[in-house]
C-alpha cells in the first residue's frame, strides 16, 4: 500500500473512531451551561442546572424509581439467571442449545414488541405505573446477561474441585457455598453489573409501563426531550454517563482482584 493511501485510510478510521466517541460527550458541556437554554459550546460554566435537577421533585423521584427498579430487576435476574446457568451446566445436547437460545430470546425480539405485549397484559393486572411491573419487564432483558456471565465463569470451574469437595464429605450446599460461589464470583458480579446497567438505561419497555406514578430517569428524560431541550435533561444524561462509568470501574476492579491470586 502506498504511503498516501495508508495515510488516507488511517485518517478515515481516526475520523470514524472520533465519530463513535466524541458526540457522546456533548451532553456534558451542555449540562454545565449557565444560560437558561442549551448552548454548545457553553458561554459560561456553572453548576446551576445540577442544583435545579436535585431541587425538582419529579427528577429526584425518577432517579429513586430507577434505583429501586434496577435493584429489584438485578436481584431477580441474578437469582433466576444463576440457577439457570447452574442447570444448563448439567444438561447436554439439544436441550442445552434450545434453552440457551430461549434465555436470549428477549434480546432478539424487538423491544417495542415486548413492550406493548407487557403493557397489554399489565393493564388488567394493575401493574402499569408500579415499580414491580417495571422491574419484571426489565428482568427479562437482564436475565440473559446473568446467564451468559455466570455460564462463562462456570465453564472455567474445574470439576475436579467439586469432586474433591464431595470426596471430602461436603454437603451439596456446602460445596456450592465454599467452592462454586467463590470461583464464579466474577461472573456473578459481571452479570449483576450488566443487569443493573441494562435496567438503568432501559427506555422502550419503561415508557409503556411507567404510567404516571413510576417514571424512571430515562422515561422522564424521554418525555422532557420530546418537548424541549432543557439543560436539566443534559444533567440527567450526564448523571447516566457517570453512573455507567462507576459500574464499569467496579467491574474492572472486580475482574482485576479475581485475577490477582491466580497470578501470585
Amino acid at each position: 500500500m502506498s504511503l498516501a493511501r495508508k495515510i488516507t485510510l488511517h485518517a478515515l478510521v481516526a475520523a470514524v473512531l472520533a465519530f463513535l466517541v466524541l458526540p457522546i460527550l456533548a451532553v456534558i458541556p451542555a449540562s454545565l451551561n449557565s444560560a437558561s437554554f442549551i448552548r454548545l459550546p457553553p458561554s459560561a460554566l456553572s453548576l446551576r442546572w445540577y442544583g435545579a435537577f436535585f431541587q425538582d421533585g419529579e427528577w429526584t423521584s425518577s432517579l429513586l424509581t430507577s434505583a429501586k427498579v434496577a435493584a429489584i430487576a438485578t436481584g431477580l435476574s441474578l437469582f433466576l439467571g444463576t440457577a439457570a446457568a447452574l442447570g444448563l451446566r448439567r444438561i447436554e445436547g439439544a436441550w442445552r442449545r434450545i434453552l440457551s437460545g430461549f434465555f436470549l430470546a428477549p434480546l432478539i425480539v424487538p423491544a417495542i414488541v415486548t413492550a406493548i405485549a407487557l403493557y397489554y397484559v399489565s393493564r388488567p393486572l394493575g401493574l402499569v405505573g408500579t415499580t414491580i411491573g417495571l422491574a419484571l419487564g426489565h428482568a427479562l432483558l437482564c436475565l440473559p446477561f446473568v446467564v451468559v456471565n455466570v455460564g462463562v465463569s462456570l465453564a472455567g470451574l474445574d470439576p475436579i474441585l467439586l469432586r474433591a469437595a464431595e470426596g471430602l464429605g461436603a454437603s451439596p450446599f456446602r460445596i456450592f457455598r465454599t467452592v462454586t460461589v467463590p470461583s464464579i464470583l466474577p461472573g456473578l458480579v459481571g452479570g449483576a453489573i450488566f443487569a443493573a446497567i441494562t435496567s438503568f438505561d432501559e427506555v422502550v419497555i419503561s415508557i409503556f409501563l411507567a404510567g404516571i406514578e413510576a417514571k424512571t430517569l430515562p422515561v422522564k428524560m424521554w418525555e422532557t426531550i420530546r418537548v424541549e431541550f432543557t439543560p436539566v435533561a443534559a444533567v440527567a444524561a450526564t448523571l447516566l454517563i457517570g453512573l455507567t462509568l462507576v459500574f464499569f470501574l467496579t467491574l474492572h476492579a472486580t475482574l482485576l482482584r479475581s485475577r490477582r491470586p491466580k497470578a501470585a
Partner: protein, 293 residues
C-alpha cells in the same frame, strides 16, 4: 447378611435420575417459568389480539401489509434499515481492517473507542445528537463558519438525523463481526498472491475481500436485524412523515388506540426479525451467542 440384589441398581438409577434430570430441572424451572409467564404468554396474548378484529381474523394483517399508508411505512422501514446497514458496513470494514494492523497502545485505544458506545445509554447518545444537530447547534455553526452553508441546515427530524443517529448506534455491531472475520484470514494466502505477481489492489480484490465476506455478511445481518425494530433513535431524530414500523406501533397504541392493528404490526415486525435470524443464522456467530459454544 446378604444384600437384596436388585436394590443397589435401583438406587443407582434413582441417583442418576436425580443427578441428571431432577436437579437440573429444578435449577432451570424458575427462569424458564418466569420467561413463559412474562414473555411467552404476553406475546401469545398479543397474537390472539391481532386476530380479534370483529371484521375477521386476518383483516388486520391484510391492512398492515396491503393498505397504501402502511405499505409506505413498511417500505420506509426496510429502506432505512438497508441504508443504515450499507453505511455501517462501508465505514466498519476499513475500521476493522485497521484494527487488525494495530498493536499495543493504539489497538487498545481504538478498541476502547469501538466498545465505549456499547456502555452508554442509547437515549443519552441520541440526545447528544439532538444537541449537536439542531439549527443553532455546533455542527450548523461550523458549517456556517466554513461557508459550507449560507443558512442553518435542517439536520433534525428528518432522514438525515435518523441516519446519523442510527449509524452511530449500529457501527460497533458492524465493526466487531467484520474484525473477527478478518482475523481468521490466513496471511500466507496474501503473500502467495503477492509472490505470484498480483498487484496490491488485485490481491485485495481477488483474495482478501472474498475471504472477508463471511464477516461482512454476519455484520450486515446483525445490523439489519437490529435496525429493523429500532425505536428510540428514529422516534427522537425522525419525523411523523417518515414513520418506521416501530414508530407506527407506538402511534397505534398511544395515539390512535387501535390495539388489534398495533398487535398485527408487531407480529409483522417479529416475523421479519425471525426470518432474518433464520437467514443470518448461517452467517451470524450463533455459537458464540449461545452458551453451547
Amino acid at each position: 447378611m446378604p444384600e437384596p440384589t436388585g436394590r443397589p441398581a435401583v438406587a443407582t438409577t434413582r441417583a442418576l435420575r436425580l443427578q441428571h434430570v431432577v436437579v437440573p430441572g429444578l435449577l432451570l424451572l424458575p427462569a424458564v417459568g418466569f420467561l413463559v409467564l412474562w414473555f411467552v404468554i404476553p406475546l401469545g396474548q398479543l397474537f390472539l389480539l391481532s386476530l380479534s378484529d370483529p371484521r375477521g381474523a386476518f383483516v388486520t394483517y391484510r391492512e398492515i401489509l396491503a393498505g397504501s399508508v402502511y405499505r409506505r411505512v413498511l417500505v420506509n422501514t426496510i429502506l432505512v434499515a438497508a441504508n443504515v446497514t450499507l453505511i455501517s458496513v462501508a465505514l466498519g470494514y476499513p475500521t476493522a481492517y485497521v484494527l487488525t494492523r494495530l498493536k499495543g497502545f493504539w489497538l487498545a485505544l481504538a478498541f476502547w473507542c469501538v466498545l465505549v458506545p456499547f456502555w452508554i445509554s442509547v437515549l443519552v447518545r441520541t440526545f447528544s445528537w439532538m444537541l449537536l444537530l439542531e439549527a443553532h447547534g455546533p455542527i450548523n455553526a461550523a458549517l456556517l463558519a466554513l461557508h459550507l452553508a449560507d443558512r442553518p441546515l435542517q439536520l433534525l427530524f428528518n432522514d438525515v438525523g435518523v441516519y446519523i443517529g442510527m449509524v452511530h448506534v449500529m457501527l460497533p455491531y458492524a465493526v466487531l463481526p467484520i474484525y473477527a472475520g478478518l482475523l481468521r484470514i490466513d496471511h500466507r494466502l496474501l503473500l502467495a498472491s503477492d509472490g505470484l505477481g498480483a498487484s496490491p489492489w488485485m490481491t485485495f480484490r481477488r483474495v482478501y475481500l472474498p475471504l472477508s465476506l463471511p464477516g461482512i455478511g454476519a455484520a450486515a445481518a446483525l445490523v439489519f436485524l437490529l435496525s429493523l425494530g429500532f425505536f428510540i433513535t428514529p422516534a427522537l431524530l425522525g419525523s411523523m412523515s417518515n414513520l418506521t414500523l416501530s414508530m407506527l406501533i407506538e402511534n397505534l397504541v398511544n395515539e390512535r388506540l387501535v390495539w388489534p392493528l398495533a398487535a398485527a404490526a408487531s407480529f409483522v415486525l417479529l416475523a421479519g426479525t425471525l426470518l432474518l435470524l433464520l437467514i443470518g443464522a448461517r452467517l451470524l456467530p450463533v455459537r458464540q451467542m449461545t452458551l453451547a459454544g
